[in-house]
Amino acid sequence: MAEFTQYVVSGLAVGSIYGLVALGFVLIFKSTDIFNFAQGDLVMVGAYLGFGAMDRLGMPFWAAAITALLVAALLGLGLQQVVFRPMLGNSLLTMVMITIALSLIIRGVVVIIFGPLDKTYPDQLPGGAMTVAGVTLSYVDLIIMGVAAVAIACFTVFFQFSKTGLQMRAIGENSEAAAVCGVNANRMFSVAIMVGTVTAAAGGLLLANLQIVSPQLSDIGLIAFPAAVLGGMHSIPGAVVGGLTIGVIGQLSAGYVDGTAANVTIYLVLLLVLLIRPTGIFGAREVVRV
C-alpha cells in the first residue's frame, strides 16, 4: 500500500510538470488552432536555457530561471511573427508539418550550441525527504508540485480575470465573434504562443531537477498530447487534470510492470479515450453543420 501511494505521489510530481506543459499546449491549440508538435522541444529549450545561464553566465538558479523564461517569451514572440503569422489559415497537416520542422530546427540548434553530451543541473533543491503517514515524500517532489501549482494558479488568475485573458478566451471560443468585438486577433495569438512557450520553458526548468538535461527531454511533448486529449483538447483545466492523471498512470505502470511499459500504457489510455470519448473528460461535444 505504501508502495502504491509512493508511486501516486511521484506520479503527481511529474504529472504536475506534464500538466504545466499540456496547459501551454492546449492554450496554443485553443487560441490559434495550431497543433504544436514542437511543445516538447520548447520544454527542452527551457531546460537548456537555464543550464546555459547557470553554466556560461554563472547565475544562481533563480536568476537563471527568470532569464530562461524571458528568453522563452521572446522566442515565442519571434516564432509567432516569423513562422506562424504568415501561415495562419492553412490546413491541419500543413501546420503540423511546420511545427515538426520547427522541432527539427530547435533540436539541431540546441545541440550545436550546447554540444551533444548530457548535462546536469547543480543540486539546487534540498535533498532529503519527509515521511507522512508511512509515505516518503521527497522535498524535490514537493517543491516541484508547489512551483507548478503556483504557476498554474497565476496563469488561471490571469486567464479568468484579466482583460487580456478575457480577450484570449474570446478568440479561443469564437474567433469571428471576437474580431467583431474589436479584439486584435494577432496580438492575442502572440500572447497565446508566448504563454505557451513560457509554460513549456518553466516545465523544462522543473524537469531538469528530476532528470538529466539532454535532447531526450523533448520526448515529454509526446506525453503532453495524451494529457491534453484526456482532459479535452479545448479545456485548460482539463489539460492540468490530464497531466496529473497521466503522470500517476505512468509511474504506476513503470513501478508495477517495467519502464518501457509506462509509455505504452499511456498510449493505450490515449487510444481508449479517443475511441470512447474523444472530447476528453472536460470537453464538450462539437456540433458541426454539414
Binding site: 497537416l93 527539427l104 539541431g108 487510444l271
Partner: protein, 367 residues
C-alpha cells in the same frame, strides 16, 4: 500540326497508359535515364581510374537504393493521406510488420523471396485494416493521435516479438533470392527496386483511374456527400488502409532484406515524420509529388553533407558548425527548407513541375 491538347472522350482512353503521341518520347527518355543511373552513380572504372560512388553529388548507388525504398513508402503513404485524406502515423508500424514477416518466413522458415513478400503484403493488409478501424469513428486530428498511439503500441509488440524469437540485438535477414538469382549487389538491388517501383506505379495508376480509386478521393473530399450517393465510406477507408499497408509491408520486407539487419530502433517516430515530410513537400495528393519529395528528403542531406565536408573549420560562425555538428546543421537546414516550401509553395514541389508541363503544352500561348 503537333497535337497541343487532347480531349478525352471515354473512360477507356482516360485509363490508357499513353494518352498522347508524345508520351513515347517520355518513356524512351525515362528508360535511358534509368539505364544511365547505375553507370553514373555506381562504382566503376573509367579511363583506368577507379571512381567510387559518392563523388558526383555526394551520393552513390546505395543511397539511391535507399531513396527508391523511401519513394515506394512515400507513394503508399500518399494513397492514405493524399488520396483518401486519412492522417495516419502508423507508417513505421507497417514497415515493422513487413520486416517481422520477412524475419519469420524468410530467416526462420527459409522461404524464398517472392512468397515472403506476398505473405508480408497479406499480413500487412490484415494489420492495416485493424489499424484503420479507428478511422471509422475519428477524423483529422483525433485520427492522427489515435494512430500515434497505435505506433507506440505496435512498436512495443515488435520489441516483444524481437525478444521472443530473436535476440535483443535485432532481427537478422538472409540474402534475398529469386530462384537462383541472388540479389546481393547494389546494382542488382537497384534493378529489383526499379521493377518493384514500376509495378507499384502501374498498379496505383490503374487503381486511381478505376472507381475504387475515385471512391478514395470522394471519401476525402466530402464523406457525407459520398455516402449520400450510396458509397460505403467506412469500407472505402479500410480499403485505403489495406492498399497502403500492403505496399508498405512489402517494401518493409524488402527494406529488411536490403539492410540485412533490423531492430526496434529502426522504426522510430522520426522515420514516420520523415515520410510525412516527403509527401507534404512533394505535394499532397500527387504520386509524382511523393516521388519528388522522397528523392529530395533522402538525397538532399547527402548532397549538403558532401558539399560542406571540406569546409575549413576556421571559417567564422559556420566553420565549427559544419565540421563538428554536420548532422545537426543538415537537419536544421532541412527544417528551414520545409518551412520555406510550405510558406511559399504549400501545394508542394510538384507544382513547379506541373507549371512547366502546363507551359510547354500551351506554348506559344503560355503567359
Amino acid at each position: 500540326m503537333a497535337q497541343r491538347s487532347i480531349m478525352l472522350t471515354d473512360y477507356r482512353r482516360d485509363g490508357g497508359l499513353f494518352q498522347r503521341r508524345s508520351s513515347w518520347v517520355v518513356v524512351v527518355v525515362a528508360v535511358v535515364g534509368l539505364l544511365l543511373v547505375p553507370a553514373i552513380f555506381g562504382d566503376r572504372y573509367l579511363f583506368g581510374h577507379y571512381f567510387s560512388n559518392s563523388e558526383i553529388l555526394g551520393f552513390g548507388l546505395p543511397q539511391i537504393n535507399s531513396a527508391l525504398i523511401a519513394v515506394v513508402g512515400a507513394i503508399a503513404l500518399n494513397v492514405l493521406v493524399g488520396f483518401t485524406g486519412l492522417v495516419s502515423l502508423g507508417h513505421a508500424a507497417f514497415l515493422a510488420v513487413g520486416a517481422c514477416t520477412a524475419a519469420l518466413a524468410g530467416t526462420e522458415w527459409g522461404w524464398p523471396l517472392i512468397p515472403v513478400l506476398l505473405l508480408a503484403g497479406v499480413v500487412g493488409i490484415l494489420v492495416g485494416v485493424v489499424v484503420g478501424l479507428p478511422s471509422l469513428r475519428l477524423r483529422g486530428l483525433y485520427l492522427m493521435l489515435a494512430t500515434l498511439a497505435l505506433h507506440f503500441i505496435m512498436l512495443y509488440i515488435f520489441l516483444r516479438f524481437q525478444l521472443k524469437f530473436f535476440t535483443p540485438a535485432g532481427l537478422p535477414f538472409n540474402t534475398a533470392s529469386i530462384g537462383s538469382f541472388a540479389v546481393d549487389t547494389e546494382k542488382k538491388w537497384y534493378w529489383t527496386l526499379i521493377v518493384v517501383l514500376g509495378l507499384v506505379l502501374l498498379g496505383l495508376r490503374n487503381l486511381m483511374k478505376s472507381r475504387h480509386g475515385r471512391s478514395f478521393i470522394a471519401a476525402r473530399d466530402h464523406d457525407i456527400a459520398a455516402s449520400s450517393l450510396g458509397m460505403n465510406v467506412p469500407r472505402v477507408r479500410l480499403a485505403s488502409f489495406a492498399v497502403s499497408s500492403f505496399i508498405v509491408s512489402v517494401i518493409g520486407a524488402l527494406y529488411a532484406y536490403y539492410l540485412g539487419h533490423l531492430s526496434d530502433t529502426s522504426f522510430s517516430l522520426t522515420l514516420v515524420i520523415g515520410y510525412f515530410a516527403m509527401v507534404i513537400i512533394g505535394g499532397i495528393g500527387s504520386t509524382g509529388g511523393a516521388v519528388l519529395g522522397a528523392l529530395l528528403w533522402t538525397l538532399l542531406p547527402q548532397v549538403l553533407t558532401f558539399a560542406t565536408t571540406d569546409v575549413d573549420p576556421t571559417t567564422p560562425v559556420i566553420g565549427n558548425m559544419l565540421t563538428t555538428y554536420q548532422g545537426q546543421t543538415v537537419s536544421v537546414v532541412m527544417g528551414i527548407l520545409i518551412i520555406l516550401i510550405l510558406r511559399f509553395r504549400p501545394e508542394g514541389l510538384i507544382s513547379y513541375w506541373k507549371a512547366v508541363v502546363h507551359a510547354c503544352r500551351r506554348w506559344p500561348y503560355s503567359p
